[in-house]
C-alpha cells in the first residue's frame, strides 16, 4: 500500500472523527445551558477540553485545505461541496440579515437568556470604543466565529454529499 492510498483510506475516517468531535464539543455548552448535562470542565479538564477543541479545529482545517489527502472521488465530493458553499454564500445573507435584524431588537439580558454561558456577547467597554474601532472589533469577532465554524460547516456538507452518494 502506498502512502497516498493510506492517506486516502484514512481521509473519510478522519472526517468522521473531526466532525463528531467538533459537534459534541459545540453541543456540550448548549446542553449545560439547557440543564440537560451536568458535565462541568474544571481545572485539568479545562486544559484538556481546550486542547481537544483546537486540535479538532486544526484537523478540520487540514482536511479541508489539503488536497494531497484526497483521492479523486473525495476530490469530486470536495468540489461539489465547494460549489454548494458558493451558492449558499450567495443566497444566505438575506435571511441571515433578517434574523440578525430581529435579534438586535432584543436587549442584552434577553440575549444572555438564550446564549450558552461561554458565549461572548460584548460588554459596555465595547460601546465606549465608539466608531471605527467598535466596528473593527465587531468585524474581528465575526471573522473569528466564521473562521472557527466554516471548516466544520464544510465538513458537514461534505459528509452529507458522501451520505447521499452512499
Amino acid at each position: 500500500m502506498t502512502t497516498a492510498s493510506k492517506l486516502h483510506k484514512h481521509y473519510n475516517m478522519l472526517i468522521d472523527i473531526a466532525f463528531w468531535s467538533f459537534l459534541i464539543q459545540s453541543i456540550i455548552p448548549w446542553l449545560r445551558h439547557l440543564g440537560l448535562s451536568n458535565f462541568r470542565s474544571e481545572g485539568i479538564w479545562d486544559i484538556i477540553s481546550f486542547i481537544v477543541f483546537y486540535s479538532t479545529f486544526l484537523l478540520l482545517v487540514v482536511l479541508v485545505a489539503s488536497s494531497a489527502l484526497r483521492d479523486e472521488y473525495a476530490q469530486s465530493l470536495w468540489n461539489k461541496t465547494a460549489a454548494r458553499i458558493a451558492k449558499i454564500l450567495a443566497i444566505a445573507p438575506l435571511p441571515l440579515y433578517t434574523i440578525l435584524f430581529f435579534m438586535v431588537g432584543l436587549n442584552e439580558a434577553e440575549l444572555s437568556q438564550i446564549a450558552p454561558e461561554n458565549t461572548y456577547l460584548g460588554h459596555a467597554s465595547d460601546a465606549r470604543l465608539g466608531g471605527a474601532a467598535h466596528q473593527l472589533l465587531a468585524l474581528a469577532k465575526a471573522c473569528f466565529m466564521i473562521g472557527i465554524y466554516y471548516p466544520f460547516a464544510f465538513v458537514s456538507l461534505y459528509k452529507w454529499q458522501r451520505w447521499r452518494d452512499g
Partner: protein, 71 residues
C-alpha cells in the same frame, strides 16, 4: 456512466477494498464508480483498463450520457 467494474471484480473474486488497493484509491471511490455515482478520470480509467487487461470501452459505456464526475 454504466460500467462492468463490479462484474470484472467479482470474476476475480476481489473485494472493493482489494480493488481500491490495486488502483490506489479509497474503497468509497470504487463503490462510487461501480454504482455510477462517480465517473473516473481518464488516468484512473486507464489504470482500471490496464489492471483488467481489457480496453476502456469494454469496461465503460458512455451511451447513457452520464457525466457524474463533472457534477
Amino acid at each position: 456512466m454504466k460500467n462492468r467494474l463490479k462484474v470484472l471484480r467479482a470474476e476475480r473474486d476481489w473485494s472493493q477494498a482489494e480493488l481500491a488497493l490495486r488502483l490506489d484509491v479509497s474503497r468509497q471511490a470504487v463503490n462510487a464508480i461501480e454504482t455510477g455515482k462517480h465517473d473516473p478520470s481518464l488516468p484512473l480509467a486507464f489504470r482500471i483498463s490496464r489492471l483488467f487487461a481489457i480496453p476502456i470501452e469494454a469496461i465503460f459505456d458512455d451511451r447513457d450520457g452520464g457525466q457524474n464526475g463533472a457534477r
